[in-house]
Assembly symmetry: C2
Homo-oligomer: 459 residues x 2
């Protein structure tokens, strides 16, 4: 940095209101961490823009001063994605949280980046609409676009990238661009929507998002099916997808996790690999899909299967899955949750999960496996004390083993959490010469490397 | 070019077999045009690679010699996308037409770029699978990825970009990269799949494609519904989609086109705006969807509706839609078909189609309107003699009017044909400052501008 923090603060105060620029220690601390186990690093300054013009002016100052800038939503990222490891300016988007436009006929909505998932769905419900991406956390839509978030519904509706029709982006030098249009499809020019989604703040700041929404399904049925082995559960899901049955959600919870869920909820569910399902659709078609699914599950030795349609009973049926993270956190007071995130072709998913289980037992860490099995994406939920170097080293070794296993089988080191800090070391192996292409794009768009520097890859 | 064509031919002959390098006039002519009205321009040399290594070696030579390179599939593009306007080397991928791997459990297939759509579907059928993108022409999959093709099934299964899991790409300097993986989703690094799909040969040559495939639906029903006006037909489709009814295909054919179809097929269908539909799914669910669709259509004054389930009857029902391009070509011997391609938000589709009809009548060209109405994408099919400057000028003026109309309403100048030569003039209006981002990416990846130069934008 060629000029001091104080000068930058003065420059920012020239263009923003007093309360929009903070160097308060507590405010900086809130912007120095996320929900991951990665080390805290405080920004020098936190700014709270109200508009695209504010963001553009902030970036012009940062660009001229060569100071690092990190966009910040609610800090729910899981790989240190929003931690300002080179300090500088954290741009907090919480004041840009307006739902700008709902277009039911176009099944589109335009929002500011600080709008959260639950805030949007509450508003959409009035129109009989829903936003489908559900990563668990009540993240901001800007943050979800930045990491290409997904979650339990991706098997049916796709990931965050599939929902983005247009982004307004402020580039590193303050230039404002739009990456798409309102058209449902386009073959006009390079697909910048896809490039910016998942760029984790390294290419620019999102200031508006135009997103696809869906009608709330007429009927929803929840299901739970128990299998003797993880292999049989995963094979049953693969068969379901091959048969073209549209499942709304399909989640695997392993034996160890069912044990934790029983303790936490004081329940007595069978402690065997269990699939949690949802079917969305019209009543009779869904009934036929459920009958077909039941027949497939029986072919894979499913020992018990239950379905529920009313809302309370559906929530009860999914209880073990819903409460899983809490169950682990509750069982290991003082420890932090760490989540791995590989995604593999579904043909090798069962063997990858079994390998992960074996490795987890071998390193001797407490944890379980939970998977978005329709997509081949699963998480090992590990409980560890980040201050305990030995535990952290074990967790890192375990993560390394399953990532390498996944990459060798054509998979990805991260299905939905993003690269952040934690997955940087796998980028060269996963992408090979492509990594140079990514770096050349980054260099072209952010020549001074001010946008979330030190994330995804080092320049 | 710093060295002569003869020297380049010699260099190419050093690395390829004799028959893989051609300067024959007839061969060059076959590679100097596509199915559009754009002017022919012959390449100096046509090469026929057999492998990725061949393509890499060809590009190394071209890169060193600063000679233009244009990838070529079967020449079915509609905007001059594969016409070598700066001459140089046309790379014909017809010898790289092997289906490399079919993975039913992963619903994936790996193909070389010269494999055609019908070739792939013939092979997939043996496994109960289908590749869904259907642009009409029997294009190569490499070409379809290059223009981000789509067609009648996009409303249900998405466009070409949605199907691409991984591309092997040879960059301008001969470097070979992979843009994705076999994982169904990934948040690892920049989304190069999305960037390369639709890049029209300006960023590299595709040498392998890993694509998503689907189970052949259990039941298919075809439908045809007649409406008093285009507005009512389009509103009915919007209501269908808002209700969450999954339609497999939904095509609008306007009055003028129904007239042509009746003449060509010697039929007597009502000469009114007509929707052609397909429903895919399980038997009972589909039946419920069809009943719901019928009720919606009646709300929009549908005057007649018919459904068919067996294959021959389905084809008969769709006859007018299927034969449309032939009907026009047959009616205007000696003229060439020109197709416009805007895509707009569905809320303004009806008014855009009505505007197009009015403009078409105003310029006095023969033609009709046909639309992938579920996506907001429609084509005006114009018959013209490209040698007749006045007719060409009229067609250009008409196209200009509807593109500007669409862009003002948040649409795109091309829904599926790509930019090629014909839509270059609209790129600045459509993309604004984004166009500079696209150019900076192009400059970073192809610094000597050898890859399909003069397409999409000029550097």
């Amino acid at each position: 940095m060629t000029i001091g923090i104080e000068q930058i603060v003065n420059q920012l105060r020239n263009i923003l209101a007093y309360e929009q620029v903070s160097t308060n220690e507590t405010v900086r601390e809130l912007h120095g961490r996320d929900e991951s186990h990665h080390a805290t690093s405080l920004p020098d300054i936190v700014v709270f823009p109200h508009s695209t013009a504010d963001v553009s002016a902030i970036l012009q100052i940062a660009h001229a001063a060569r100071v690092a800038v990190v966009p910040f939503g609610v800090g729910s990222s899981l790989e240190g994605n929003a931690i300002p490891i080179e300090q500088g300016i954290s741009i907090d988007f919480s004041k840009m949280n307006t739902i700008l436009d709902i277009r039911p006929e176009d099944l589109l909505v335009k929002v500011q980046p600080g709008v959260t998932r639950s805030q949007l769905n509450k508003e959409l419900k009035k129109h009989g609409l829903q936003f489908t991406v559900d990563p668990g956390a009540d993240a901001t839509l800007g943050g979800m676009a930045a990491t290409n978030a997904s979650g339990t519904t991706a098997v049916r509706y796709g990931v965050m990238r599939d929902q983005v029709r247009d982004l307004e982006v402020v580039l590193a030098d303050g230039t404002v661009i739009h990456t798409g249009s309102l058209a449902a499809k386009s073959s006009s020019g390079y697909h910048l929507n896809g490039l910016f989604v998942g760029s984790e703040g390294t290419l620019g700041c999102f200031t508006e998002l135009t997103l696809k929404v869906y009608g709330i399904p007429e009927f929803v049925t929840a299901g739970r099916a128990v299998f003797p082995t993880v292999g049989e559960a995963v094979s049953a899901v693969a068969a379901l997808l091959q048969a073209g049955i549209m499942v709304g959600r399909v989640e695997l919870v392993d034996e160890a996790s069912m044990v934790q869920a029983n303790i936490y909820n004081e329940t007595s569910y069978e402690e065997k690999p269990t699939l949690f399902l949802e079917f969305h659709g019209n009543e009779t078609g869904m009934q036929e899909d459920i009958e077909f699914a039941t027949a497939i599950f029986e072919d894979f030795n499913c020992s018990s299967i239950a379905f529920e349609t009313d809302n309370a009973a559906r929530n009860k049926l999914w209880e073990a899955r819903h409460s899983l993270a809490y169950a682990y956190i509750h069982a290991y007071p003082g420890k932090k949750l760490m989540s791995t995130d590989v995604c593999v072709p579904i043909s090798v998913l069962a063997e990858t999960i079994l390998y992960a289980r074996k490795q987890l037992d071998a390193v001797g860490l407490a944890g379980g496996l939970v998977g978005h099995v329709g997509d081949g994406n699963f998480h090992a939920l590990l409980m560890l004390d980040p201050a305990n170097a030995e535990e952290q080293a074990k967790a890192d070794r375990f993560n390394e083993h399953i990532v390498q296993y996944a990459l060798l089988r054509g998979g990805s080191c991260t299905g939905e959490h993003g690269v952040g800090i934690g997955k940087m070391k796998y980028q060269a192996t996963e992408h090979g010469a492509s990594l140079l292409v990514m770096k050349s794009i980054k260099a072209a768009l952010d020549p001074h490397n001010i946008m979330n520097p030190g994330k995804i890859f080092t320049m």
